[in-house]
């Protein structure tokens, strides 16, 4: 159907092609690594509260439903909790390479906190609670802060891109995308600061003509590896 805009090219890790069967496989893979709890779901030993229960753990990429929209919104909310707390702690510690990083962190914190508030409001009683976080020296070491912020923002962009097409309700699509593009602005900003301008190709504010989506699985795997989430 599509030539340049092809799922095969965009969807490098299969985010959009994951079938219901694949989602089932994801669940069993998670179950091997984690334990079931009443309040949430342990993935890789880490409680990821964006996932309500093992039965509901995987966002369906095939069947859109209102219930699936709740899962997607909670997944987004958990990522926003993480980003907001990351910037909150970095601002509190004040360990920035220069004033421009401080300005970036302060304003981006405001945006992420607003995203948390909006998603919580969107979800109402269905909203998950914030996990607890430990960002280690990424919120005290200026160099690590810049590098980590870039990864988090690029991951945020990819995570929203991966879920947009799975959302049933059009107003939710619109709402998600209005957050999505702001994450991209943050990503471009921190890339610009880290590079000191437009810089080398792989560190450009916009490194590619199309941003690449990431599946829930890929994002969860990346987040789990950071060890930033320490509990519910």
């Amino acid at each position: 159907l599509l030539d340049h805009i092809k799922l095969e090219t965009l969807d490098t890790d299969g985010a959009l092609r994951e079938s219901a069967e694949a989602a089932g496989l994801d669940r069993s893979a998670f179950l091997k690594r984690g334990a079931v709890t009443g309040a949430g779901f342990i993935a890789g030993g880490v409680l990821f509260s964006g996932l309500a229960s093992p039965a509901q753990a995987a966002i369906s990429t095939r069947n859109r439903s209102k219930r699936n929209d709740v899962k997607i919104a909670n997944y987004a909310l958990t990522l926003e909790y993480l980003e907001a707390d990351f910037y909150r702690q970095a601002v509190k510690n004040g360990a920035f390479a220069n004033e421009q990083y401080r300005v970036f962190a302060a304003l981006t914190f405001e945006h992420e906190a607003a995203h948390v508030k909006a998603l919580r409001s969107l979800l109402g009683k269905a909203a998950v609670k914030s996990p607890t976080f430990d960002f280690g020296d990424t919120v005290t070491d200026p160099q690590k802060f810049g590098a980590t912020a870039q990864v988090l923002e690029d991951t945020g962009v990819a995570a929203y891109a991966g879920q947009g097409p799975n959302i049933l309700q059009k107003p939710v699509v619109q709402a998600a995308l209005s957050i999505h593009s702001v994450e991209a602005r943050h990503a471009a900003w921190i890339r610009y600061l880290n590079t000191g301008g437009l810089g080398e190709t792989n560190r450009l504010p916009a490194p590619k003509a199309f941003d690449t989506p990431l599946s829930e699985k890929a994002v969860l795997s990346a987040v789990t590896k950071t060890g930033f989430i320490t509990g519910s």
């Binding site: 995203h115 891109a161 999505h180 593009s181 994450e183 602005r185 471009a188 916009a206 003509a209």
Partner: protein, 230 residues
């Protein structure tokens, strides 16, 4: 899902406006409204031939194609703007680099949209003629680029909820963030040391990007006078 309340996210009503403005118009009233806003006349006439599906409220393949043609026109405009800026704009350093890089991205979007429209079995609109009136030269370049990129973001966001095809929505989502990255990069070149809030900032509408309806965007583009013929 009774807890979903768009009002909390859609702080200025832009999302709702984008949803409703075009969707509730019949083709006839759309053009009447476009015509009475004065500056929109030219663009309405120009876009009119390209947008057969504009009046359809429910997502459909026909409407998807109309949206693709609309997006293509905006990408044609951006690509031509940067191409000319890089060639004749008298730019140097980071500004010249930006013009070249952004031209490459926008041209890639043009190629992708052309090929998608063709594969959906529709006629591919050819590139219009443009007159940028010197706005892509020298010290005007960044200011105009900033406006164009942010128009692009609002335009894609305005259509995302109207697309029927999941694949097209995925594609639009992967383009809108690149437009947003461009807008942020241009904002930094415009004002690298300043506190980045307000209308000339990295994120001019704050925590949430706004969506604009096709009608609004066509009006804004029409007002520039950049499109001089098809």
């Amino acid at each position: 899902m009774s807890h979903l309340d768009l009002n909390d996210v859609d702080v200025d009503g832009a999302v709702r406006e984008a949803e409703e403005a075009v969707a509730t118009d019949t083709r006839a009233t759309f053009f009447r409204k476009a015509a009475i806003t004065g500056g929109t006349i030219g663009s309405a006439a120009f876009f009119g031939g390209m947008l057969p599906g504009i009046a359809e409220a429910a997502p459909s393949k026909k409407q998807d194609i109309a949206i693709l043609k609309y997006a293509l026109t905006l990408e044609y405009l951006e690509a031509a703007f940067y191409k000319e800026a890089a060639r004749d704009g008298g730019l140097t350093g980071q500004q010249l680099e930006a013009a070249r890089l952004l031209n490459t991205d926008e041209q890639t979007h043009v190629t992708a949209l052309r090929s998608t429209i063709r594969q959906l079995g529709s006629r591919v609109p050819s590139e219009p003629n443009f007159d940028f009136k010197g706005t892509n030269k020298g010290d005007k370049f960044l200011g105009t680029a900033f406006v164009l990129e942010n128009v692009g973001v609002r335009a894609y966001l305005g259509q995302a909820g109207r697309l029927k095809s999941k694949a097209l929505l995925a594609a639009a989502a992967s383009i809108v963030t690149v437009e947003a990255r461009h807008a942020a990069a241009i904002a930094l070149l415009l004002n690298p040391g300043a506190f980045q809030t307000g209308s000339k900032s990295i994120s001019p509408s704050g925590s949430f990007d706004r969506a604009s309806s096709m009608k609004k965007i066509l009006g804004e583009v029409g007002d520039t006078g950049f499109i001089t013929g098809s």
